[in-house]
Assembly symmetry: D2
Homo-oligomer: 479 residues x 4
């Protein structure tokens, strides 16, 4: 069910000729919609002339046929979907960001989070910089622009900029003549590329977006790698590759990415099925049926069923029209939310011992309501299995895993949570199993900070506060 | 996947006191959204004063919080979701229809189709009637109004009206003081009712809508039955019950209704699983994996897997944001449609013999594309199983099963279709099995017209034509 | 300034060929916008197939280029602008009304008000009629349809219907092949027609709409006249002409119609200038400057200036963007309304004795505020002159002149009103002068009911109440 | 009638307490709407926290009650209306611009045009600056931010910045605690301030906006003056005052400003009336009636009438609903535009010799059509008088007076123009009279560049090109 949210998805395309790159970007963003529902944007590059449109809303609300048409044709485009807080600031913070510097226009789309954002921004401000947004993407633009003044090319400037920015970043950068993929040296977030039959190259956060435009997946962008695409050439820059230990976010497998995407050679679905198998081994139980919470618990439920031999069934119907702005009119509370979104198929659970699989428990409230629905429908026992270890620490690398006070696992014991959510038993995936989801070769390549606090980068003491309080800060009041 | 469309869903509520009946109706319609996506409407009755809002669009697009609020509170409400053709006529044909006659306001919401619509309308016009819509609902309003002139109550008028109207109709009627459920004597379309904890009665096309407002399901409205709810009483009128043999639409189980709804004592999902089991018996095959086309093929796939022992897997990811107005910009064709909506999880099918389950084949084009996606992803064999018998005849009872020229099964042999859609084998559910989906006791109670042409009512020779050409007819040109 | 509102404007066009009649109707309605700002609609007739669009809002908000395009081409069209109450009922009551009867489609656009609406509706309901609106236009449709059953043509039916309907009505009726102009025998409301260079005939409430489509004005439709246009012929029916004494609404000259329109051979502006001249004779005063309240007081101010020799000046600037939905946010009250809409040009009035001309005083509140603005700006004396006699009686013929309790002149003496609105002197146009506005030949042809209560038709005792309470009535509660 | 457009209007307010400053700004912008119809924006400052909303569209379309409410209360606000080109760039260029620098948030609203924009921007880019817009306002923000690094206050930074920026600028600047009015040393554009009864100070482009919020006009901001308002103090900085000769734009009197505004001690209307009087002296003619083209020709027509003794009449009705997005559907051309907007009152001109007054002739096309309407309506002679001298040079100070090829007066003689627009005689206001419009004391204080090419500032040779081609430039293509 999930209370977690990914921050962003990025997409870029470069073709040999002037074509409808806006339409391809639209399809790509639509496939990445699960990575961000707050705002989206597309920038088209037609021989150095940029046209763009960004707004809050889902991809197919923001981009009507008319608006796509107005973007015109081009030989390159960059797109972005974003999760973020609602409100007035939403539109100004939509990406891709488009700026003009001494060398012409540049567009940037960014997925991740800089851990030295505050320091970088302060330094820039001390140099006379002005900021229009509270995005770290604008900071990246400035850094690259500054380095550009003493570099021979935008890629050289990008290499230098990567020595100054810290944290998680998967970027697509578009200049007048180049499309550039950049992944941070620790490879926190995914980024990959592919090619279409007519020779257009496509960069995307996930391979499902490459599939959606009919392109062939080539490979992941390597941690630290810069790939520079022009109309006629591809240039791979590995200056920052293998300079640091990889720290890929395991939640990309468990929750964020789409099941049909492949990352580091594994489809996300197969890793989720494996999580279910691990759970069945670790936390076996006598039961009559295994059901998953749609959509992200279904694969692990199949895995649990396969390993345990307990039959898999579809136990919930999720209203497929809920997509967007479901309003809660009148006296209705969030309680109703679950009822409207999910309904139990009573046949499946009535008089039965149920194994219920979900991918995470954040605050526990949604979970308690779902268990309540099963009890109402006549389940005699409910055994909850969670296909991830418990969260114990906030994330600074581009997800919204919250501060400790809101994480149920930080504040209650397993026994207490079992009681609170009303289940007969509760089992989490072990950290070790989580590390094994994608096979032995990935075992040491994950970030485990949210589980065990082992942050792979230095964390500025006030990073977290700064980041989320930026908008309302008034740095001084004498001005 | 389906190319079929249900025509409508209806909802009504009556409470003891003035409450937020608009919100309940909104939830109910949201749960019935799958029955009609073209337009929707809600009418609130506050002590005889009616307020209403109707428009084209999905329930949560049409009804913003502000619009629901403007409808005000009341002790009764009626709602409707409708499938229909697009275009200028859309809004005027939205339901519920609200009219005023000598006895005050009446609202009607209708699911079904009158087979003697043309005759009734002509007779009314000969008597001086004027029509604002091309809905048969307006004809029903007139007939009840006419009968009301010589009846002591609206229910007496309704009993008389039922002797004049023919075909399929599940109605919710709201007068100033009564809420009335009406189901045609053959019981073509579902209709049921329930009650909330605080004593409000709820009428709905399907039980999932009753669940969605937290009410308890009581039972189906019987074929031919009229149930009259007032603030203080319930009156059951069985004048038209058991006057005709039941002809329930089997496609309500196979395709139209939501899996969590129960009809005639069976959940829809269990009937679909049973269809899969029947298919496995009838059309067994050596294979490695069973997958269903989301969403309506999934249950039958589980049934096929269970009966055959071939493992069930999730083979497709359906983009969950596709909901509504997905536009196809630029050079893209309908081909792309499938790619954007569905993506194959290649791991699941690569190098495997696949059993593919869907609920129907209408024209065959969508089917061929899906099979193509599986082949591309590396499936070595694709065995298609369809959880319904082939369509051979148009439907006149409220679905859009098309004229013969567009039905693939009318024009090609099984072998030809097998080749056309590119599968290694193809098997349909037998008519006999279809009749057994909901158990022995329902076996003789289905309409089988679309499969074998045995129409349970007389069909006016020009019914079909009339109905669909109504809008553009200019009856005479001397006026 | 005015607190009065006209109820409607009508427009129709018939051309020799299929052309963009929707665009012409759009222009015509735009020119008639002052006659109704609540809703508008256009119906296009393409060889008997009707397409229509209606909604609440101004003409150029409702009709985007896209919507006009969707109406398609045709050889006839009818349009309507309407003033009415806001709220949910708005859209359903928008005109033209389009209905289908035994002879095909008919569209009706109506300006006026039936005085026997309640009786007619009741009779129709007793015959089994159902109503979708609370418009008297729907009643007219029914009556014509009923008469059509025993008539050879729609025009014959219209002649008969005119014997049954009473009150004020200027109609444009469009059948599959005819466009018909109808004006009630007393000629309460204006209606005229013209012809374009390419032989299209145009019917409109006012000649300014005929000008706006580049047509030549021909003449007013006569009181009681029916004019039937077909592609090839014009037929004038005078059965109801000269059957009753004319009762033209003098307020069409004083306030409702556009100054550039001509009615009964006089331009509206010239009549208003004459009103100013009359006022100067009746109510002369020593003063330094004459100013009018924009827009409808300007012409009379020029007339006053001309007759009196006191210089005319532009004393107020009216914000020209106020057009539509000016919102009053925050703590602001209606007081602000005047300030935002009107600003005084202080130079013009500072230290001067001002003659202030407006066309009416309804409740007196707006007037008092305007006088206040002049005082603030330094006017030493303010002498108000009103270019109409005082209202003393409600209107039942299609305007919203209110019930007596809200008419200031019904409840206070001239001296009291002078004090209440804060002027040094106050003078109304005399009834005799009002009757002379349009020249001697029109002198006996006006309705004077709102001034002296001499209603030219019988008024049903409960007409007024019925009409305005219709929507919320629940006729009986047993149903 | 005019083909000229002002570029912008600015507004600011500072109050003692937290109040509904957004509503006041809304009223102020509404009064300034004539200065810019393309986009608008409001920024509210609540103790250093800024909230803003900007979009393309008119003030009362962009700011619904809901959106104003979301801006919240505050003790300061800044607003802007802007004229600009349509299209994708529109929204990003809307003002006020809100940026954050080392000292916190700053909002800027700007009316005018920097003549050294290109040089300043290039220098900033060479220093590593990035730009989000193509506004010179962003350049001003940067310059002030740079100077702020070495200044003790924002006002000190502003004084320094004024030495670097050249051209026309009337600014409202809002920092966390200060509201600042700035007018360039030549005083090209107007700027003034006032105070409300409760002690709130208001800055606006024109006094009509001060009136609209019920404030008292105090005086114009002096050329070169900076006025710094805080909650508790006002500080007047005259460092740049009297450093240059004033060059006020005479078109503010003739065309741009609202007649009820006062500038340099004169109401705009009185100057326009005087222009008419001058015209009557310079270009007398035998005629029967004087009419003005609404709205900006009316005052001069009254002046001409007064001086000449020829009667003034209202000869045109302008459709008052035209305000905004009037669409031209179908086959209609711009020709129709005039017909729809303006209609002649034939009585007034039929058989008469007409003096027609307008404020300018830009390309001559609109003018020719208006004259055509008068001829059609029966005018026997048309004598055109223009209340401004002919344009012969482009403007670089914030209006869109076009390049020479589009200015009719640059390419044709008086006799040729007379023939082209179809009049019997044509007379322009002389340059000397134009300089005398606002009295002797203003005579040497006007910019006359558009009439005689005497530009009061240095003009960079490529200023004009740069400015208007900015958006599509791709500075280099190697990046």
């Amino acid at each position: 069910m999930g209370g977690l949210r990914e921050e962003c998805g990025v997409f870029g395309i470069i073709s040999k000729e002037n074509t409808d790159v806006a339409a391809s970007t639209y399809y790509g963003l639509f496939a990445l919609q699960h990575r961000g529902q707050e705002s989206c944007g597309i920038v088209v590059n037609n021989g150095g002339a940029f046209s763009d449109y960004k707004d809050t809303g889902l991809v197919n609300d923001v981009f009507t046929a008319d608006r796509l048409h107005k973007l015109g044709t081009g030989n390159m485009a960059v797109g972005h979907v974003r999760y973020g807080t609602t409100g007035g600031k939403g539109r100004i913070n939509a990406q891709p960001i488009v700026v003009e510097n001494i060398k012409g226009h540049t567009a940037l789309a960014h997925n991740g989070n800089l851990t030295n954002y505050s320091e970088l921004r302060r330094d820039l401000e001390l140099g006379g910089a002005i900021f229009h947004t509270t995005n770290d993407t604008e900071v990246i633009s400035y850094i690259i622009t500054q380095e550009r003044l003493t570099s021979d090319s935008i890629e050289e400037a990008t290499v230098k900029a990567m020595s100054r920015i810290k944290g998680a970043y998967s970027l697509v950068i578009m200049s007048s003549s180049k499309l550039i993929a950049v992944r941070d040296p620790k490879g926190f977030r995914p980024l990959c590329y592919g090619v279409t039959e007519d020779g257009s190259y496509v960069i995307a956060s996930e391979s499902c977006a490459i599939d959606s435009v009919g392109a062939k997946f080539i490979r992941d962008v390597l941690p630290g790698e810069i790939i520079v695409f022009t109309k006629d050439s591809i240039n791979y820059i590995d200056t920052h590759c293998n300079t640091e230990k990889q720290s890929f976010c395991v939640f990309e497998y468990i929750y964020f990415s789409r099941p049909d995407s492949q990352i580091e050679g594994k489809t996300v679905q197969s890793c989720r099925v494996r999580a279910g198998e691990f759970l069945a081994k670790e936390h076996s139980v006598q039961a009559d049926v295994v059901i998953g919470v749609p959509d992200s618990g279904l694969d692990a439920a199949i895995g649990y069923s396969r390993e345990s031999g307990i039959p898999y069934e579809i136990g919930f119907i999720k209203n497929k029209y809920i997509g967007r702005t479901f309003i809660s009119p009148g006296q209705t509370t969030r309680e109703d939310g679950v009822r409207i979104k999910l309904n139990v198929i009573s046949d499946v659970v009535k008089g039965k011992r149920v194994v219920l699989i979900d991918d995470s428990i954040v605050r526990g409230t949604t979970c308690r309501r779902i268990v309540g629905l099963l009890r109402e429908a006549g389940a005699t026992e409910v055994h909850m299995r969670v296909s991830a270890p418990p969260f114990l620490n906030p994330c600074y690398y581009g997800t919204d895993i919250d501060s400790k006070e809101n994480l149920i696992a930080c504040n209650y014991t397993l026994a207490e949570i079992t009681t609170m959510i009303g289940v007969d038993s509760l089992g989490y995936l072990s950290l070790e199993d989580a590390m094994s989801l994608a096979g032995e070769e990935m075992k040491d390549k994950f970030c485990t900070a949210c589980f065990n606090g082992a942050y792979p980068t230095e964390i500025s003491t006030n990073t977290y506060t700064n980041l989320y309080n930026q908008e309302n800060s008034s740095k001084n009041i004498e001005d």
